[in-house]
Amino acid sequence: MPTRKRDQATSRGGGQVTRRSVLKQLTVLGTAVAGGAAVGLILPRDAAATLTEPYDWTRHRWVYLIDTRKCIGCGFCVGACRQENEVPHGNYRTWIERYRINSEGEAHVDSPLGGERGFERIRDSGHFGKAFFVPKLCNQCAASPCSQVCPVGASYSTRDGVVLVDAEHCIGCGYCVQACPYGSRFMNHDTHTADKCTWCYHRLTRGETTACVGICPTGARIIGDREDPDDPINHILATERIQVLQPELLTKPQCYYQGLDQGVR
């Protein structure tokens, strides 16, 4: 075997293979590879869309507040969210639940079409002592279980306190949908990636309020900035009795509720 190889080597180049020639070839190869990598570096990539409005995310921290005592269950928020964010039908980034609590303390909950077309009367309400609407959406948890389980880093928290999903990077495994204890995430029927409420990040960062807050006729939903001392939400959070959903899970929800009953999960 060695003899045949030697013959080939000598017949091909005719010259001797020395340490110098091997090192020379390695150097040439290495340079070629480095050049290739450099070409890869300067290849054009998808340029991120540029925005003219300046926005410093270190100077804001968004919080959401829902006063369940003001919610009339009209469902305009659900429709506005769908149209603003192109949410496919059958998927909900926000929805309204109707709670009816009987004398035994048992909760009966319904949310037909997420409440998008309002609610109809149920004619068995004799046994229910109290009933109320609870709007739901992503709680944008400060310790979000959904982002923690994402295996590819497609789900993350922004510096201003919003949990977002990078649909381009999402592999659609659905772990985060399972991990959210509030049922706020879903697999988008159209994109087959994880989807959720963004608190209308495209609106907030341009100085607009969210679609759901903007459309609410009774002011049951508000959103505000913790970093802005003049924002009325800070006064409410500091002086009123507020609650979050399932505080025992230690997810630090950034969506606060007023007038929440103990039966609400």
Partner: protein, 161 residues
């Protein structure tokens, strides 16, 4: 390779070295093509996505934007009973009607009782101080006939009181 070459007895080392080089190249090139440009700039995610999310187009304009052309209707809305109601709730998002300041389509006008009852159908779950009716009873009490646009016989949706 000549058997007298100094590398002859170290062939296995040269092969291992070459294999290592190839692996390193594959790693560098692979990372170059697979890891997004902005990865890790702000955390373990693609930082460009934040900009992409921000660039999503706005659809709703709010009542003030409607008032730029329809100030008379907005004034009517603000005066009598429906001050809190948002135009785009009963009609449609601004983006379906206006683009770059020009009208692109008619706003839908829905004279439908089904729209009114979303807020005003009497429900146990609604706050008791919110005005609500049993629509059929209410219409017959007023001597009307219940139909898909019964409410509008008496009420102007912009100034219902």
């Amino acid at each position: 390779m000549n058997s007298e070459s100094p590398l002859w007895h170290a062939k296995h080392v040269v092969r291992a070295f070459l294999a290592l080089i190839v692996l390193l190249i594959a790693l560098v090139l692979g990372r170059q093509f697979l890891v997004p440009d902005s990865w890790g700039r702000s955390g373990w995610y693609r930082a460009d996505n934040v900009t992409e999310q921000r660039a999503f187009p706005l659809r709703h304009g709010g009542n003030a934007s409607c008032g730029e052309c329809h100030d008379d209707i907005l004034a009517e809305l603000t005066d009598a009973g429906h001050a809190g109601v948002r135009c785009e709730g009963c009609h449609a998002p601004l983006a379906l009607h206006v683009s770059d300041g020009d009208k692109i389509a008619d706003m839908p006008v829905r004279r439908e009782t089904s729209l009114c009852v979303r807020c005003h159908q009497a429900l146990d779950a609604r706050p008791t101080d919110f005005p609500q009716v049993h629509p059929r009873e209410h219409v017959s009490e007023q001597g009307g006939e219940f139909g898909p646009d019964a409410c509008f016989e008496c009420h102007n949706p912009h100034a219902p009181l």
